[in-house]
């Protein structure tokens, strides 16, 4: 499998990464390199082997349903580029 330039541009757009035209070719070759490695992995027969989603062979730990966090609006908003009162403010999203 290899990516064409249009797919590279689309991936970049979905990831909201600005890619100039002259960057497409090098990115294409780098991404294809990664895909080549993945393709090598595909050669291994994994019939009947459950997908491994983590290195630790354990299940999810759960916590109690108690309110233990929140009430830190100032800290949450501290890095906001713009705010209005206690709200984050962002360039208008028009629907």
């Amino acid at each position: 499998m290899s990516l064409d330039p249009a797919t590279v541009k689309r991936i970049a757009q979905l990831a909201r990464i600005r890619v100039t035209d002259d960057q497409v070719a090098p990115l294409q070759s780098q991404l294809n390199g990664i895909l080549g490695w993945i393709e090598q992995l595909q050669e291994v027969n994994v019939d009947g082997v459950a997908p491994l989603t983590g290195a630790a062979d354990m299940a999810l730990r759960m916590r109690e349903d108690r309110v233990t966090d929140g009430g830190i609006a100032e800290k949450v908003l501290a890095n906001a580029p713009d705010r209005a009162g206690e709200f984050f403010a962002v360039p208008k999203v028009v629907e």
Binding site: M58, L60, D69, F87, V90, K92, V93, V94
Partner: protein, 483 residues
């Protein structure tokens, strides 16, 4: 009779499936310890996890998991003992992580079903799956000319997405499905079902086809927030698609927006790219593994659900299926009714609850939870009728006084002297007075105009200020008029 959309080329059938997003009832969020309470100050219920700060790790809330399992059990669905979380990637200002944690590939709940009844006909609507996911924050677009405001209080709150099979065939069925689902969720206590506060929202998938055809292309109408709007969205979207097909066009698979003011759906072009969510397993979360014994334990504590309660009301109290359905729709109403009916005439209890009580609640804008008349008070009133302390007509007045004052019926009857008159001497005296004053009508009655009997009863009751015992009055009148 099945519902169809009339087109120029004949009848079209609606095919509809619903994705319902139900907010899980819990204290804290799905993956953080911040509160879920509605209506708090902006961003006051946000942890660093909910705000998508780097390095913050999600830890799942056990109660949210239990609520999803309870809901699955209530939908008679398969519970998956192993489920997994995936990332659904998209960019939006109210989604600080840049992805929503959801369960695409391995949901916690599999196939189940909901039974609905429309026009006396029972149908089973399949539930494909139920999965847990995070809610996003809230955007306010109308506060500032050039900026949108973001409140992340809702960000990270647990949602259950409940996906139905495309089994729904009319707007009425869509409404019945949502009402039934909401009723089940409320009984279970897993979602408050409050659509005004956004605790329950629906995405509506609609396509149309000629009878016997395979499915045609569907459109998804996003985020419809009331049952009435869902029904209307199904109707207008189906109509639109019929018009597109019949004018030689082709329905495009797309996301549309329902406009309740204009009563139409329209394309959301912004969502054109949105379908490429690049799902992948969330590396922050291990598989969610449930113990079978834990699921069984949850099952033993499930409440009696609406269908079972309805069947019991029919068999135990002799109610009609319709009346039983009305009484079980809200759990609080069912509890109220059972408390009134306990040890009493259940049909009378049902009639008072559904008639006078519902009327009074409507009029006063109250709910059954803060009813001006308690179940105990209504029960006492039924007792006063049963032991002939008051008659049915006076009972109506007593009930109105109960609504107004909140007093107990016994006290009202005593204070206002509404006790039924069973003294035959007083009844006879009233009858004699009425007969003396209406000689002409007595003649007509004796001449065969028997319909006048009702007139005499009315006059006697009026003379007795409504307090006469109706059976005694009837009997004495019959005898006297025949004499």
């Amino acid at each position: 009779m099945s519902y169809t959309v009339a087109g120029a080329e004949g009848e079209w059938e609606i095919v509809c499936g619903l994705e319902v997003h139900a907010q899980v009832t819990s204290q804290a969020k799905l993956f953080s310890g911040a509160s879920t309470e509605f209506g708090a100050e902006p961003n006051s219920q946000v942890s660093f996890v909910d705000a998508g700060f780097p390095g913050m790790l999600p830890v799942i809330n056990a109660e949210c998991v239990a609520q999803a399992v309870r809901t699955g059990l209530g939908l008679d669905a398969q519970i998956n003992l192993v489920s997994k979380f995936d990332r659904k990637n998209y960019f939006y200002a109210d989604l600080p992580q840049g992805y929503q944690i959801s369960q695409l590939y391995h949901p916690i709940v599999g196939a189940g079903h909901v039974e609905i009844e429309v026009e006396g006909e029972t149908r089973r609507i399949g539930v494909t799956r139920l999965h847990l996911e995070q809610d996003a924050g809230k955007s306010l677009h109308d506060q500032d000319p050039s900026r949108s405001f973001i409140d992340l209080n809702r960000s990270g709150v647990a949602l259950m997405e409940i996906v139905s099979e495309p089994d729904i065939r009319s707007p009425e069925e869509a409404g019945a499905y949502l009402r039934k689902l909401r009723s089940i969720l409320r009984y279970l206590g897993t979602c408050d079902g409050n659509m005004e506060e956004g605790s329950m929202r629906a995405d509506v998938n609609v396509s149309v086809r000629k009878h016997g055809e395979p499915f045609r292309t569907r459109c998804e109408v996003k985020n419809v927030n009331s049952i009435r709007y869902v029904m209307h969205a199904v109707e207008v979207e189906a109509r639109r698609q019929v018009d597109v097909w019949e004018s030689g066009g082709e329905v495009r698979q797309e996301t549309r927006l329902y406009d309740n003011v204009r009563g139409e759906t329209r394309s959301m072009r912004s969502k054109e790219n949105a379908h490429d969510y690049r799902y992948f397993p969330d590396p922050d979360l291990l598989p969610l593994v449930l113990e079978e014994a834990w699921v069984a334990e949850l099952k033993t504590h499930l409440p009696e659900l609406p269908d079972a309660k309805r069947a019991r009301f029919v068999s135990q109290y002799g109610l009609s299926p319709y009346d039983a359905a009305v009484l079980v729709a809200e759990q609080a109403t069912a509890v109220f009714f059972e408390s009134v009916a306990h040890g009493r005439d259940a049909k009378a209890a049902a009639n008072w609850v559904m008639g006078d009580l519902f009327g009074a609640l409507n009029r006063t804008g109250r709910t059954i939870e803060d009813s001006p008349v308690s179940a105990a008070a209504l029960g006492e009133m039924l007792d006063l009728m049963a032991d002939n302390t008051i008659n049915g007509r006076i009972a109506k007045d007593v009930f109105e006084a109960m609504v107004e004052t909140g007093d107990m019926p016994g006290a009202i009857v005593e204070a206002r002297g509404l006790r039924q008159v069973t003294d035959t001497g007083a009844i006879d005296a009233a009858i004699e007075a009425v007969i003396a004053a209406n000689g002409d009508k007595v003649e007509q009655y004796r001449g065969g105009k028997e319909k006048l009997f009702g007139f005499f009863v009315g006059q006697v009751m009026k003379a007795m200020a409504g307090k006469g015992n109706p059976a005694l009055v009837n009997e004495a009148l019959k005898t006297r008029l025949a004499a």
